[in-house]
Amino acid sequence: MSEIALPKIDSSILNRKSEIVKKLSKLTNIENVLSEADELRPYETDALSVYTQTPLAVVLPENTEEVSEILKFCHSENIKVVPRGAGTGLSGGALPLQDAILLGLGKFNKILEIDYENKCVVTQPGVTNLGITHAVQNKRFYYAPDPSSQLACSIGGNVAENSGGVHSLKYGTTTNNILGVQMVMMDGTICRFGGKSFDQEGYDLMGLICGSEGLLGVVTEVTVKILKTPEVVRAALIGFPSIKEGGDAASEIISSGIVPAGMEIMDKALIEATDNFSKAGYPRDAELLLIVELDGTESEVNELIKKVEVICKKNNCSSLKLSNSEKERLSFWAGRKAAFPACGAMAPDYYCMDGSIPRGKLAEALLEIKKLSKKYELPVANCFHAGDGNLHPLIMFDGNDKEQLRKTEEFGSEILKTCVRLGGVITGEHGVGIEKRELMCEMFNDNDIQQQLSIKKSLDEKNLLNPGKVYPILRKCAEEGRVHVHKNKDKFPDLPRF
């Protein structure tokens, strides 16, 4: 697992390290350039911590002009650059390269403008996702996309990964919630796409940049849309005696015309694990648990809750509990948000998968995963963003047992292939990075990949910006990739992962 093909190291760059560091120190404040081994260590990996690489140097610029000058210099000297936000990404998108500068945006940590009249916030990319909501919540506004790592992940990273979250079914992912970006291209050109007004005319370059995993440019400013906090939010906690009945109910809720703010599914293994871990009071006799959250005005929410109740009863739910206070609503979520650490407490290691499937195939996918679990003799716990078909199976294993590790990898790969076979995709929200790079050809043929590579080439001709990520280097469909957590030592153990 810890070996992965990376772009060929340019030894001439390694040999010029001190000269490069000296030059970088002239382009930004000298303290912003890190080059000693102990200074570089914290930057060796992102949240896909199974892979580590020591960068040539870390540079932490303070403004857009500095970013532009640094990139211009690297471009002219053929030095590779890996951009990095908060380093919370789960797919290795910010994994350093030995002959590359790691460009950290951590000092871009200011909110530049809060504009209630235009319902937007202009922010630097290093501000955390939750930091934006905190800045506007006193006027009852919020920023909608809510990746589980929102406490720590940066908005610039969200743009790079097109991050989603629990509420993306109703409110969309990052791409649907930003109005503009300022970006620096690899040759140092500073550009601006969009602004405070809706949409762009011409090619939607902001749409292209969002989710491009740091391969096309370095985002130095983001303008996000803010929304008014809903008047009422309520959640329902519903247990089902079988996977099929619960899956069908989730599917029927959507097809009946209800668009929940969030809808989550957990299987029996996870119900038990999370309830043991967080004492959330989940129905332990249920085979499948559904959490449905609805928001809107009071009568709107009450009306929708009634409809959800009818559908769940029709599908033979074994228990149904509605939240009657904000405290109770949060308690419904407590277990779900503890899903990852709960699995960490049950086995020395777990792999987290991230695929998307059509909602109607939820039951089929779960049953298939259950079958695979038997085949590989490895326990698995499942949580799904059921509203949008995004599944996160967690395979539990012991990494010290090489045979178990091999089986886990095979199991994971079969799950992702199952997603594609059911009409879905290999990554719903964690990104491709290096983790799922070799699985790209499960979804795309040569023409598709060549077109994407042509875009990359047109904007970064020398392939210096974050090379080796997203697209297969060896052009083979190796079976690898997933988030590996050993002894519950997630790089960010305090972050809820859902």
Binding site: C120, D204, K228
Partner: protein, 426 residues
Amino acid sequence: MSTKIKINSQIFQDSNNIYYPKDEVEVSDLIRELYKQDSPTVIIGNNSKSFIGNKTQSANTTSLSKISGIIDYRPEELYIKVKACTPINEIEQVLSENNQELAFEPIDFGYINEGKSNKGTIAGYLSCNYAGSRRFKVGSVRDHILGFKGVNGKGDIIKSGGTVVKNVTGYDLSKLIAGSFGTLVALTEITLKVLPKKDSSKTVIIYPSNFEQIYDFFNKLSSSSSEISGAVFVPEQSKDKDFVTKKNSVFKFNDLKSNVSFIAFRVEGDKISIEEKINNLKKELKLSNSEISILDVYQSEPFWKKVNNLQVFEKTEHNLIRMVIPPANGSKLCKYLENNHNYFVDWCGSLFWIEVNSKKEEKIKDLKKMAKDFGGYLTVIKTSSEYDYGEAIFTVDKVRLMISEKVKQSFDPKRILNPGKMYRGV
């Protein structure tokens, strides 16, 4: 139309030498051949929106109109996959049978062009990316595209996206294709996100007394937890008698005074929550002592169709402009436009439809400067017969143009597809 180019294929060509490939393989064969011969082509669907964008001439014309039909509609999965030139009417009809819709509310550009309905095809609509009145609530056309297939300028069949809403696998090319006016790929297949129709709707009409008040209302409406799904301002414009007559005839409803300036906002949902939201909004907008009227669902639905279809500018012979700005600058723009040009404001204060009060294009320069100063952009949607394209139809800065050229190059290196439709050199 030139007949110089000899295409070695069986693709149907009509008497005007327009090619009609019948599937993606034929599109690919045709474009591959044109690529080899360095021979560009205009790409059309049903020609309903070909008046938008620069007038271009190419050696060839390719119509994708035969690539039509619904491939896969899954109401429970909230998506529909169609062949690219499926008429929007056909899609809306099928969705409506399942009580679903295209939430971005496609505009029927047939009215401004020909004075009658002509919605055209979904590929044409996606290529323009002009969402209707609900945009500020639900997003634009690009936000509803889950995936596509098409043929790039080298003749390669390519795809991006899929049928699921959560998908971050590779670059999000669906966004790039939206609004690209057929200059990057010839579309052959599109997957759209669909949403349930709301049970009912009502529209509240208020009569503001000045521009500051209009934008105060817009601001309060967009800041409310009681969500609205449409908000327009239609000005009185009493000096232009023709416009007033037109306006009165288009917006002739029992419960609407169309001869004065009015704001209309739409509330959708089940009947109980509509009442609740209207009551909340009346309080938030402090309307207790103001004159208001309410259009019930039977008036509300046709009202929004007329707004959305730009019927007040039916068959206009003037230059028609679409300007989008941040709403905070809206009242300044309204003041400038008053008695200068006919206009109305949609998207709760962001979108201005402006009929320039002269067939000459010189006034467009002023408006374009204003759009830029206000942090927005404008597009000349329909040009008058006297328009000589001295002033560009689109708004683009040097850097974005440079990047657009690079992106174009990556899809269509020999500029085979719709060259010049958007910008010179693209």
